[in-house]
Amino acid sequence: MPLLQISEPNQSAAPHQHRLAAGIDLGTTNSLIASVRSGIAETLPDARGVHLLPSIVHYQANQLPEVGVDAKTFAVQDPLNTIASVKRLMGRGLADVKMTGTQLPYDLVASAGGMPSIRTVAGELSPVQVSADILKALKQRAEDTLGGELTGVVITVPAYFDDAQRQATKDAAKLAGLQVLRLLNEPTAAAVAYGLDKQAEGIHAIYDLGGGTFDISILRLHRGVFEVMSTAGDSALGGDDIDREIALWMMQQAGIAEDAARSHIRELLDIARAAKESLSTQHSITLDVPLATGTRWQGEFTHEDLIKLADPLIQKTLVPCRRALRDAGISAEDISAVVLVGGSTRMPRVREKVESFFGRKPHVDIDPDKVVAIGAAIQADILAGNKPDNEMLLLDVTPLALGIETMGGLVEKIIPRNTPIPTARAQEFTTFKDGQTAMALHVVQGERDLVVDCRSLARFELRGIPPMVAGAARIRVTFQVDADGLLSVAAREEMTGVSSEITVKPSYGLQDNEITRMLQESIVNAEIDLKLRALREQQVEADRVVNALRSALQADGHVLLKREEFVNIAAALDELLSVANGTDIQAIKHAISKVDDLTKEYAARRMDHAIRQAMQGHTINEFTEKL
């Protein structure tokens, strides 16, 4: 006899047609799965009653991998085959991983396309495969708990994840045999868990302090859509740093040398963490610390001591908060709700600081470790069709602008950042040279004006453009982003209908930059970008003038120009060429206008000449009849 759950009115499923849906928080350190049962969204525990699944996988030769707590125990004895924090590698190229300086103790090797693989006794594994193993463990747990196969899942990703990282997450889900209903931004999921999507429009701050990372997101609920106004954070700041400060303090107090054995330090960190947690409810505790000599040191550790150690770190989280507010162009008073996410926000001191920074009490009712998974479960329940259709479907937005490279290495933004998705935008482009029959399209993501400062997503070509003079062809480029934030780009020549398209199966990696940094840089460098854009535009213009003039001179320069005129124009052309690649905008402008002046008469003669040729052998009447 199967066990039943309570449905919404008139939403009872027919037998064998249960629409089981779950929300998954696929975290760097821990992962969770949640589901809505009988109207309650809850995270699902394993057989031992533990909700958090450590995002760690241990591989063995010829055996199924172990995931979670079982894998964690191998971290010390078998570090090369025990993979943790794989989320940091998702959708990144090997070069990026090395550049970010993330210290991961694995044997990373390059595989196809410069993507990193991890060498283990079970073979070379991609980060996508490792994530898939974590997802499989969660899937198994959910299916055991819910008593059936999952129809679909919602997986959360950080708001700053780019297309490649999102695609990698979807690939992992597919590999785990999960149907992804959609990917949801983590801060958005937290807001949904508190039902902020059902409230009036407003601006919300999501403060997410985990074990090793800090993220702040400013969301705006506008016409049923959560827009990410700004994100900021610190990818190397979290509750673990507070533990480390406490451990260092203990070492000083107890006279333990800094080069103590790794296992000893590990033990001290565990004591530090326990002390931090106890001080959430007690005023002071007695520390009992083992020494290398085999004896123990005991000492008092008070709430004041903790504050002294933790405050500088908590203060450090407020810097990105300030930056996020500034980037969003708002002040703290504009925030209508603050949501806390991440285990470290359980610290009363963190709550105090956040409250005084934003000037309002944060939402803390839902367990901050579980809030993201719960929000995802609520979304999954709606998407799977278990709610009456009047429930609003939440939308998402593009995290960064998407655009295309134009002449001079400039970016033409086609879909601006924060556009609600799904969306489609189109723009027309043209050819640059006479007789050009192909066009290379370079799709980029980012806020900067120059292609080199943005992230390259894909390249493709449109061929078979009929030969025409420069600027006559009309090529329509369409950008489409689906509900998961994945992009497809199509180019079509309007006269002949030849077309070409690409789905950004993004080229994972390349010169990857974190979105937060990219956003920040775009603001810092706005003025430089403006000047560079102006310069590049003049250079492109110079190039265009040179090309046009050269082909004209070649065609009829000797027929229509006197020798002296020809020499003068050639001299002006040479002068333009000599400054065209320099950095002096004024010089280029000046040289262009000089060429323009000198060739005005020539252009008029060419026009006359062309008309005369066209009319030769015809009478005026033939033309008036046509008119």
Binding site: M1, I6, S12, R141, D144
Partner: protein, 107 residues
């Protein structure tokens, strides 16, 4: 005519109703579908229908349409745990035969 809830079932229903933030009570019912005749219905109720019958057990309002009641008379609704799975179970004395998976039944 009687329908009863176990204490565990009542507790869980109360919790669900509180979380949901609205709803009068719980609808029990049967409908014809499935591989072997009838299937159970378990839903929240926001507005009862005119001909619905109302029972109260362990402080929870149970709503049943008259047609379903004849199939469910004497049923006890329990909330049970089987391994990781947990949910509601109908202990229905009228059931003669259930399909292999137990999702539908005949009386």
């Amino acid at each position: 005519m009687s329908i009863t809830l176990t204490e565990k079932a009542a507790k869980h229903i109360q919790k669900s109703l509180t979380h949901r933030g609205k709803g009068l009570g719980l609808r029990l019912g049967v409908r014809t579908s499935g591989c072997s005749g009838m299937a159970y219905v378990l839903e929240f109720v926001d507005e009862p229908n005119a001909d619905d019958q109302l029972f109260e057990s362990q402080g929870v309002k149970v709503i049943i349409d008259p047609k379903s009641l004849s199939y469910l008379d004497g049923t006890e609704l329990d909330f049970v745990r089987e391994g990781l799975n947990e949910g509601f179970q109908f202990n229905n004395p009228n059931v003669k035969d259930a399909c292999g998976c137990g999702e539908s039944f005949t009386v």
